[in-house]
Amino acid sequence: GAGVSQSPSNKVTEKGKDVELRCDPISGHTALYWYRQSLGQGLEFLIYFQGNSAPDKSGLPSDRFSAERTGGSVSTLTIQRTQQEDSAVYLCASSLGLAGVGTGELFFGEGSRLTVL
């Protein structure tokens, strides 16, 4: 597609439920990132995929968070047993290569706003 697509745009769930957030990157982009944006906290790196390599999971805040990327394209971020502190906007970004290097500018989706009641 023309840009990074994320779904759902809004998700309200009850504490303890599992949620899945989807990201469809720009076609041809090999790198895919998930960030979390909380009020007043900026953007927190969660996980990074580069092609078919093993993902860099160093930013995931707990083992309730996981992500996968199928076929080097679409990615799903899963949060199990959601907690109220998981409420945030989850942003996906893609780039041609390693972000910030050369032309590896990050292109962001509009985010998925998660509210845990």
Partner: protein
């Protein structure tokens, strides 16, 4: 690991005022620097970037930023702001690590007509 500090969390200006948003980073090696903007209800988009060469870089919508290596700074400037510049501004740095860009906490800019 690198970190990014944006000193102003909220800035309120009148139209036609000059703007400078501070950004400092902590990393002693070569860095790539970015400013992203998020207009209300829209996604983050690149405002400008610095990789090498002229430390004064120009971006979209009349914005510019100056990289001062000795001060570890990359401040964003605009001589005359407009109401449409109301947005959240994020400074980001990449030092070549696999975690991509490290972002500051953002500056919420409000321009009053």
């Amino acid at each position: 690991a690198q970190s990014v500090s944006q000193h102003n969390h909220h800035v309120i200006l009148s139209e036609a005022a000059s703007l400078e948003l501070g950004c400092n980073y902590s990393y002693g090696g070569t860095v790539n620097l970015f400013w992203y903007v998020q207009y209300p209800g829209q996604h983050l988009q690149l405002l400008l970037k610095y990789f090498s060469g002229d430390p004064l870089v120009k971006g979209i919508k009349g914005f510019e930023a100056e990289f001062i290596k000795s001060k570890f700074s990359f401040n964003l400037r605009k001589p005359s702001v407009q109401w449409s510049d109301t947005a959240e501004y994020f400074c980001a740095v990449n030092a070549g690590g696999a975690d991509g860009l490290t972002f500051g906490k953002g500056t919420h800019l409000i321009i009053q007509p």
